[in-house]
């Protein structure tokens, strides 16, 4: 298809498309392409392809078949226990949450009609009318109280027991109203309730294999480690789903998953390998790749309380030495977005887009290293396969260091035991952090003075105070301003370099329409089954 271009993928199309939307001029676009190594003569072709907008209306019917990447006998339909993407996808199809996040990362109401609070401590949840479970029972406040309260019971084994622990009081005010009391004010409750574990189940449920939820599909088959089949819920309270039935299973082998898609056995292959992208694109227009950046990242941590991270100029120098563009292009093979040294990803509502990533500047880096007196020393960096892509990143940083006479010694250690033996412990090492839904959770987990995973031992009283202030405030503008400042503080002061946010790519047949990116993760935040449709 793209005869003269050899290194152009559809993710670059998306980049051009975004640039056009932002109002980029033709000159800027051509500059972008030259940077990507594309000949000018091919420019028109690319622009034409990226500008093609797809407007379509949903079609009903069909059997949707999709494959994730991990499944075992531990697969569960109990939302509290859900641990793999496969579980999330199934829970999203059989149950509903009180809220969900839209593509901009803003919480929207699902089973809740409204969630309100005057002080961010006592919250009133009004439920929608006319919602029924698959067994015909109408949804009431008791179901919501039961669904939330069970996370506090240790025998349930809930994955979000820690986050749920802040909910201290539950009261069914009337049939349609629930009152939730928190231990201390937290304005993020609507976002927290959008996590997949807080799906609403029927009051008193102990056997979750029936998946008696309010969701778009009714469970027909569920065999842990094999597959699940859901049939369209005829009494669904929303409009939809578009497809008649939905089958989901996992193919753990990357190549096999892509082969199954290309052979037409499945409509969606989740999380494909960057190497397989070319294979999919080579098949022509029959397949589509969709990229999601949901906030997973691999970062370089320099402990501020140990040599050499206790020298401010060493930290500054390292931040200038990291070539973020190159890390995205080579270490992540284009599947990522340049990061600006703070953990709130562009997918998050509170991401500060004005906080620019530090430019790669070896001269400035050399100046700071010289000032810190570390030039000529050999400084060890611990990298491991456990923190994905960290070895490639370390190599890129090492090569840049060698150019200016900074000797960085990359020590590659085994994955097994990495998190116990090196992470948080070594003076300079890599970490990998999974997406979290709110800045509050990220900051209190990773950057406050008492954070359990304070990777660089960053301590700031001002930062701690701002976190408490933002948590209790219901004024969104004010919170955004505080979170912006906090992101700036982390980028400037902490010893963590976050060079890029890692993306995830799902491949689908072109027949599958309606798939959008979502900040909660790939496969439309795992909830695609309800929204997509299959064109004949």
């Amino acid at each position: 298809m793209n005869d003269k271009i050899t290194n152009w993928t559809r993710s670059d199309d998306a980049m051009v498309e975004t640039a056009i939307r932002r109002g980029a001029t033709r000159r800027e676009l051509l500059h972008m392409m030259l940077a990507g190594g594309v000949a000018i003569s091919a420019g028109g072709l690319v622009l034409g392809r990226a500008g093609k907008a797809l407007a379509a209306t949903p079609v009903s019917g069909g059997t949707l078949k999709a494959a994730g990447w991990s499944s075992s006998t531990a697969d569960t339909l109990d939302p509290a226990k859900a641990s793999l993407s496969t579980d999330y996808v199934r829970c999203c199809s059989f149950y509903n949450r009180l809220t969900f996040l839209d593509k901009s990362g803003t919480p929207q109401m699902e089973l809740a009609e409204a969630i309100e609070s005057k002080d961010a401590k006592t919250w009133t949840v009004k439920l929608k009318n006319g919602v029924t479970f698959h067994d015909g029972k109408p949804l009431t406040a008791d179901d919501v109280v039961f669904s939330l309260k069970r996370h506090l019971d240790p025998s349930v084994g809930s994955k979000v027991a820690k986050i749920a622990a802040q909910m201290t009081g539950f009261k069914a005010v009337d049939k349609q109203t629930v009152e939730i009391t928190l231990a201390s004010p937290n304005a993020d409750l609507p976002t927290i309730l959008s996590m997949h574990h807080f799906m609403i189940v029927s009051d008193g449920t102990t056997d979750f294999t029936k998946a008696n939820g309010t969701g778009a599909f009714v469970k027909e088959v569920f065999e842990p480690g094999v597959r699940s089949v859901g049939i369209k819920n005829k009494n669904y309270w929303k409009s939809g789903p578009n497809v008649d039935s939905f089958e989901y299973f996992a193919i753990s082998d990357d190549n096999a998953r892509v082969n199954a898609l290309l052979a037409g056995d499945i409509h969606l292959a989740a999380a494909i390998n960057p190497r397989s992208m070319r294979l999919v694109e080579a098949q022509g227009d029959g397949f589509t790749l969709s990229k999601t950046t949901s906030g997973n990242y691999t970062n370089l941590n320099m402990r501020l309380d140990m040599e050499p991270g206790n020298k401010r100029d060493f930290i500054e120098g390292m931040k200038y030495l990291v070539n973020r563009e190159q890390i995205v292009k080579s270490a992540l093979r284009g599947l990522g977005e340049v990061g600006n040294d703070q953990p709130v990803s562009p997918a998050n509502f509170y991401h500060d887009a004005n906080l620019k990533a530090r430019a790669f500047d070896p001269e400035k880096a050399k100046f700071h290293f010289d000032k810190a007196g570390v030039l000529g020393q050999s400084i060890p960096i611990i990298a491991s396969d456990a923190a994905s892509s960290s070895i490639d990143m370390a190599m890129i940083i090492q090569a840049a260091g060698a150019e200016i006479g900074m000797k960085l010694d990359v020590q590659r250690v085994p994955s097994d035991g990495y998190w116990d033996n090196y992470w948080l412990k070594a003076p300079i090492h890599f970490g990998n952090i999974n997406p979290r839904p709110t800045p509050d959770i990220l900051f209190s987990l990773l950057y406050t003075s008492d954070a359990p995973w304070n990777e660089s031992q960053y301590k700031s009283e001002k930062f701690d105070k701002m976190l408490i202030e933002a948590r209790g405030s219901l004024d969104q503008e004010k919170r955004k301003a505080i979170y912006n400042e906090m992101q700036g503080m982390i980028a400037q002061e902490a010893g963590t370099i976050i060079p890029a946010y890692i993306s995830n790519v799902d491949a689908t047949t072109a027949k599958l329409k309606g798939l959008e990116a979502n900040p909660l993760g790939g496969q439309m935040g795992y909830a695609f089954a309800e929204y997509v449709w299959l064109e004949a």
């Binding site: 075992s72 027991a161 299973f249 190549n255 096999a256 082969n259």
Partner: protein
């Protein structure tokens, strides 16, 4: 049935029982050596000490492991395989469907691979040293050397992605007719036939060649027997012992070792079940799978021995 076969079967039954008990103890001790338990693995990153404690209590994992194992063993004697730790489903139900799948795949594969392997092995031995023999030998050694995932992935790429003759997955497609059945089984069976035949061909060829060198075959030749008669009447019955043993070993592999084929063609058999069980430290499920593999192996070896005895004139 003569008395020799009967006594063999009886002694084998006795040995099998003891073997099963020893294997189950060995598996139990190996399992307890693995780090972590079902509770910590299910909780993953959320495994705080209180959470682990609570879940362990709820799953009765706080009882001593040996006690849980002995209770499972007693249950087994009463025909109860127990309940899975990971998903609280009865193990009999978890295993049943997948064991049938494994048997089906193994059966169909045996149906193709055994006749092919015997034919190629015997003819290669008869035509020893000819171009035909060399081609068969080179191909068999080539096939032994190529890893299974390579054969499976290439087959999927060629027949499913490029030629679009066959589906890439074996299980996700509905089967309505005999043609569907053939299409669905084609690729896993081709892959497994490649893997198991090679060994059988080599063994058959070697065993037949060895008997062809014996004095009584030379005698038959001197008496003017035809070549097919020499091979089938005189050489083969004596070579059958090692051949059926090789066949039994290859087939026992089909019962529990086809994890790669199960993964690549998304075929839910018992090998992947065992792997899942180990990953979640699901003791009753690990034990039950191990018993099945062990029993299958003993059964095949016993059958091989019986065939060897019945076919060998000197043992009869």
């Amino acid at each position: 049935m003569n008395s020799q076969v009967l006594s063999l079967v009886l002694s084998r039954l006795f040995v099998a029982l003891i073997t099963l008990v020893i294997v189950s103890f060995a598996v139990f001790f190996a399992t307890t050596l693995l780090p972590g338990d079902t509770a910590t693995i299910l909780l993953g990153q959320a495994a705080t000490p209180e959470a682990v404690e609570g879940l362990r209590k709820a799953m009765h994992l706080d009882e001593p492991a040996l006690f849980r194992f002995l209770r499972w063993l007693v249950g087994l004697l009463q025909g109860d395989l127990g309940t899975s730790y990971a998903n609280e489903m009865p193990i009999a139900a978890l295993i049943a469907g997948r064991f049938v799948n494994t048997l089906k795949l193994a059966g169909v594969t045996a149906l193709f691979s055994v006749p092919i392997a015997l034919t190629l092995g015997i003819t290669a031995a008869m035509l020893r040293g000819t171009l035909y023999d060399r081609i068969v030998t080179v191909i068999t050694i080539g096939v032994i050397s190529v890893p299974e995932f390579m054969v499976a992935t290439s087959a999927a790429l060629i027949f499913a992605v490029y030629l679009k003759w066959l589906p890439a997955l074996s299980f996700a497609n509905e089967v309505h007719s005999m043609t569907d059945l053939l299409r669905v089984y084609a690729m896993p069976v081709i892959t497994l036939t490649f893997v198991v035949s090679a060994q059988m061909i080599r063994m058959t060829r070697a065993a037949v060649i060895e008997t062809l060198n014996t004095p009584y075959v030379e005698m038959a030749l001197l008496k003017g027997a035809s070549r097919p008669r020499i091979v089938f009447r005189h050489a083969l019955p004596n070579a059958l012992g090692p051949i059926v043993n090789a066949v039994a070993l290859s087939l026992s592999y089909l019962l529990g070792g086809v994890i790669i084929v199960e993964t690549i063609f998304n075929y839910p058999g018992i090998a992947k079940l065992m792997l899942d069980a180990v990953a979640t430290r699901d003791l009753p499920l690990i034990q039950s799978c191990a018993m099945i593999f062990c029993l299958g192996y003993l059964l095949l070896i016993t059958i091989a021995d019986i065939i060897a005895i019945l076919s060998n004139p000197r043992l009869r």
